[in-house]
C-alpha cells in the first residue's frame, strides 16, 4: 500500500510543513543555540556585549559542591521515580489485562492522571503531604516530628518522588497494556496447557515478551524525570529545604533567573542536554536493537 501525495507546485509542500518547522525552530533550535552561546561567554555586568570565556563556565559548574549534590539528588530522584512508576504501571496493566471485573472502567481511570498538568499534581500532593493539615497532621499529633517535608530533606525528596511516580504511572500503564495485548493469546493458552498458573505465566511468558516495552519505558521515564520535574519541584518544595530537592532542572532555573547567572545556568542546561542525548542514544543503539524477538 503506497499512498503518496503529489503536488504540482514545488512550494506547496514546504508551505504546508512551514508552521511546524517554525515552531520547532523558534521553541527548540533557537533557544538551544542561545544556550550554547551563553555557556561559552560571559555577560558584562551592566550590559555592553559578551566576552568569550571558553570552558570557564563549565569549570565553575563542575567545581561547585552544590552542583554535584544536585546531580546526585537528580539521579536518585530519576531512578526511584522510574522504578516506582514502572513497577506500579506494570502491575496495574497485568491485572487489567487479565480482565478482572470492571477492567474497562479502570483502564480509562488509569489513563487520566497523565493528562493532568504537573503544577496541579504538585499542588494536590502538597496538600496531601502537608505536615500541618490532613492525614499527616494526625500522625504528627500522635508522634511529633514523624513527618515534615518542609523541614526534613529526605521527607521532601520522598514526597517529590511519590508525586512524580504517580504522574508517570498512567503513561507506563498505557504502554504496558498495549504491549500485553499484543502478545498472542495462543501463547498464554499454550502456557496454561503446559501447566503454568496465572502468576507463573506472567513471569515466564508475559514479562519476557514485554522486555522491549520495558526498556523503552525505562529510558523515557529517566529522561522525563530529569527534564520534566520542574513543575513539581517549583510548586511543592522550590528546591528546599536546604537544597535537598534542588534537582538539576530546577537549579538551572534558580541559578539563571533568581541568581541571574545566565552563563552558569546555560552551561548546566548544556550538561543536562548531553545527559538526555546520551540516554536517547543508548535507547536507539542498544535497547531497540537487542530486545526484539522474531
Amino acid at each position: 500500500m503506497q499512498r503518496r501525495a503529489t503536488f504540482r507546485s514545488p512550494w506547496l509542500p514546504w508551505m504546508l510543513v512551514l508552521p511546524q518547522l517554525l515552531i520547532i525552530f523558534v521553541f527548540f533550535y533557537w533557544p538551544t543555540g542561545e544556550a550554547f552561546q551563553w555557556a561559552f561567554t560571559l555577560e558584562q555586568p551592566w550590559g555592553g556585549g559578551r566576552e568569550w570565556v571558553g570552558w570557564q563556565n563549565f569549570a565553575e559548574v563542575f567545581s561547585s559542591q552544590h552542583y554535584w549534590s544536585s546531580v546526585r539528588i537528580s539521579i536518585l530522584y530519576a531512578v526511584a521515580t522510574s522504578a516506582l512508576a514502572i513497577g506500579i504501571g506494570l502491575l496495574l496493566a497485568l491485572f487489567v489485562d487479565r480482565e478482572v471485573a470492571g477492567s474497562r472502567g479502570w483502564r480509562l481511570a488509569l489513563i487520566w492522571p497523565y493528562a493532568i498538568a504537573a503544577p496541579a499534581i504538585g499542588m494536590i500532593f502538597r496538600f496531601v503531604f502537608d505536615a500541618r493539615a490532613g492525614v499527616f497532621s494526625l500522625f504528627n499529633a500522635m508522634m511529633p516530628g514523624l513527618w515534615d517535608p518542609s523541614l526534613n530533606g529526605t521527607h521532601a525528596l520522598l514526597m517529590l518522588i511519590l508525586a512524580g511516580a504517580w504522574q508517570l504511572v498512567a503513561y507506563n500503564f498505557v504502554f504496558f497494556l498495549a504491549g500485553l495485548q499484543s502478545i498472542p493469546r495462543g501463547l498464554n493458552e499454550a502456557a496454561a496447557m503446559d501447566g503454568a498458573g496465572p502468576l507463573r505465566r506472567m513471569r515466564d511468558i508475559q514479562m519476557p515478551l514485554l522486555a522491549p516495552t520495558f526498556f523503552f519505558l525505562v529510558i523515557i521515564n529517566l529522561t522525563d524525570s530529569f527534564t520534566n520535574s520542574f513543575g513539581l519541584v517549583d510548586i511543592m518544595t522550590a528546591g528546599g529545604p536546604a537544597r535537598a530537592t534542588d534537582l538539576m532542572v530546577y537549579k538551572i532555573y534558580s541559578d539563571g533567573f533568581k541568581g541571574l547567572d545566565y552563563s552558569g545556568a546555560a552551561a548546566q542546561s548544556i550538561v543536562l542536554m548531553g545527559l538526555v542525548v546520551a540516554l536517547t542514544f543508548i535507547q536507539f543503539r542498544f535497547v531497540e536493537r537487542k530486545m526484539h524477538y522474531r
Binding site: P184, L187, A190, A192, M193, G195, A196, R200, L209
Partner: protein
C-alpha cells in the same frame, strides 16, 4: 488410554449457540478427526476438551472422570495450536522442556526427556535455536515435542497442518500418524481438510453448525454419507448430486432433464429426491452425455460431462483414454453405488447409511443413537 465423552454438553456465548446439546464418545486410544467447514464449532469443541473454553451445560468426561471444573493443566491433555504458539524468547530445548519445568521435574531428567522427544522428532541439531530461526515444519515439530514431553493421556491438534505447504503437509500427516501409533494416547485432530481427515482418522466426526452430522470410520462415512452435507463435503472431487423427483409409479427417479434412474426401494410418488454418485463410480452405460471439460490429474483424468438435459456430472477416466471436448459419452451407474437423499431434509434414504451405524466393527461410539436422525 482415555475415552473422551460429551454428555449433553453445550456451549453458548450469550444468545448465540456454538455447540448444541452434544452426546459424543471419542474412543480411547483412537485417532479421532473432527471435520467441518469453518464456523461449525469444531475448534470450540476441541477447546472445551482442553479447558480453554468453559462448558455451558452438560458434562465432559475424560477417562471416566468429570472435567468441567478442572483447570487445563489438570486434564492430562496436551495441545498443538494452529500457529504453534511457541515461546519466541525460549530456545527449542526450553520450549519443549517448559511443561516439565513448570511441573517441577529435575533438571537432569528434564534434559533426558527433552533429548528423547527431540530425537523422536529429528530436532537434535536445533535445540539451541529460537523459534524465529526455524522453518514452518520445524516449528510444527517443536510444538509436537512440547506436547509429547508431558506424556499426556490426550493429544489435541487444532488444525496443525494448515499453515504448511502442500508437500510438507503430506509428510507431517504421516508423521502425526506414526507418532500416534508410537505413543498410544488418544488423539483428537480438528481440520477442515477432508483428505487429512480421511487419511488420519480411525474415527471420523463430521460437524456442521454446532451439531454432529455423522460419525464413524472414515471408510463407512465415505461409503454411506448420512446426509447431503456430508456427501458433498467428503471426497475430492465432490460427489455428483443430481436433483430429481420420484416417478408416479414410485419405482424410478426422474432427474432434471428427463433421465429416469431405477430406485432400489419404493418411495412415495412425487417426492423430491437427490441422487448422489461419486465420480469414481460412474461407468459405461446408456446415458447420453457430452464432454464439457477435461482435467488431467496425472494419474487419471477428471472429465466434466453434461448429461442430456443439462445436469453436470464429473467422472474419472484412465489417463490413456482422453476424450476430446464435445465428444459424446455413454454413461452408466452401478446401482449398488448410488446414494439417495431427501432433497428437503437432506437425510439419506435407505441403505445402511443412517449415521454411519454399520454394525461391522464400528467403534463403540458409532453405535450410539444418532443425534441428527432424531431431529
Amino acid at each position: 488410554m482415555a475415552a473422551i465423552e460429551f454428555i449433553a454438553a453445550r456451549k453458548s456465548y450469550g444468545a448465540s449457540i456454538a455447540i448444541h446439546e452434544l452426546d459424543l464418545v471419542l474412543p480411547p486410544g483412537a485417532f479421532t478427526v473432527i471435520l467441518g467447514p469453518s464456523g461449525c464449532g469444531k475448534s470450540t469443541l476441541l477447546r472445551m476438551i482442553a479447558g480453554l473454553e468453559g462448558i455451558s451445560g452438560g458434562e465432559l468426561r475424560i477417562g471416566g472422570a468429570r472435567m468441567n471444573e478442572r483447570e487445563p493443566k489438570d486434564r492430562g491433555c496436551a495441545m498443538v495450536f494452529q500457529n504453534y504458539a511457541l515461546y519466541p524468547h525460549m530456545t527449542v530445548a526450553e520450549n519443549i522442556g517448559y511443561p516439565l519445568k513448570v511441573g517441577g521435574v529435575r533438571r537432569a531428567e528434564r534434559q533426558a526427556r527433552v533429548a528423547e522427544a527431540a530425537a523422536a522428532l529429528g530436532l537434535d541439531a536445533l535445540l539451541d535455536r529460537r523459534p524465529g530461526q526455524l522453518s514452518g515444519g520445524q516449528r510444527q515439530r517443536v510444538a509436537m515435542g512440547r506436547a509429547m514431553v508431558r506424556r499426556p493421556r490426550v493429544f489435541l491438534y487444532d488444525e496443525p497442518l494448515s499453515n504448511l505447504d502442500a508437500k510438507l503437509r503430506v509428510q507431517m500427516r504421516l508423521e502425526l500418524r506414526r507418532l500416534h501409533e508410537q505413543l498410544g494416547a488418544t488423539s483428537v485432530l480438528v481440520t477442515h481438510d477432508q483428505q487429512e481427515a480421511m487419511t488420519l482418522a480411525d474415527h471420523l466426526v463430521v460437524m456442521r453448525g454446532g451439531r454432529v452430522e455423522q460419525e464413524g470410520r472414515p471408510r463407512e462415512v465415505y461409503a454411506a454419507p448420512a446426509s447431503l452435507f456430508v456427501a458433498g463435503f467428503l471426497g475430492t472431487p465432490a460427489m455428483n448430486l443430481l436433483p430429481g423427483a420420484v416417478t408416479p409409479d414410485g419405482a424410478g427417479l426422474r432427474l432434471e432433464g428427463g433421465v429416469v434412474v431405477p430406485l432400489p426401494l419404493r418411495l412415495p410418488a412425487g417426492q423430491a429426491v437427490t441422487l448422489g454418485i461419486r465420480p469414481e463410480h460412474v461407468g459405461e452405460g446408456d446415458l447420453e452425455a457430452e464432454v464439457a471439460l477435461v482435467e488431467d490429474l496425472g494419474a487419471s483424468l477428471l472429465v466434466h460431462a453434461r448429461l442430456a438435459g443439462g445436469a453436470a456430472m464429473a467422472l474419472h477416466r484412465p489417463a490413456e483414454l482422453a476424450p476430446a471436448r464435445g465428444a459424446a459419452l455413454r454413461l452408466g451407474f452401478d446401482t449398488a453405488r448410488l446414494h439417495f437423499f431427501d432433497s428437503g431434509s437432506g437425510q439419506r434414504i435407505g441403505g445402511e447409511g443412517g449415521r454411519g451405524a454399520s454394525p461391522a466393527g464400528a467403534g463403540e461410539a458409532a453405535r450410539r443413537p444418532a443425534l441428527l436422525a432424531t431431529t
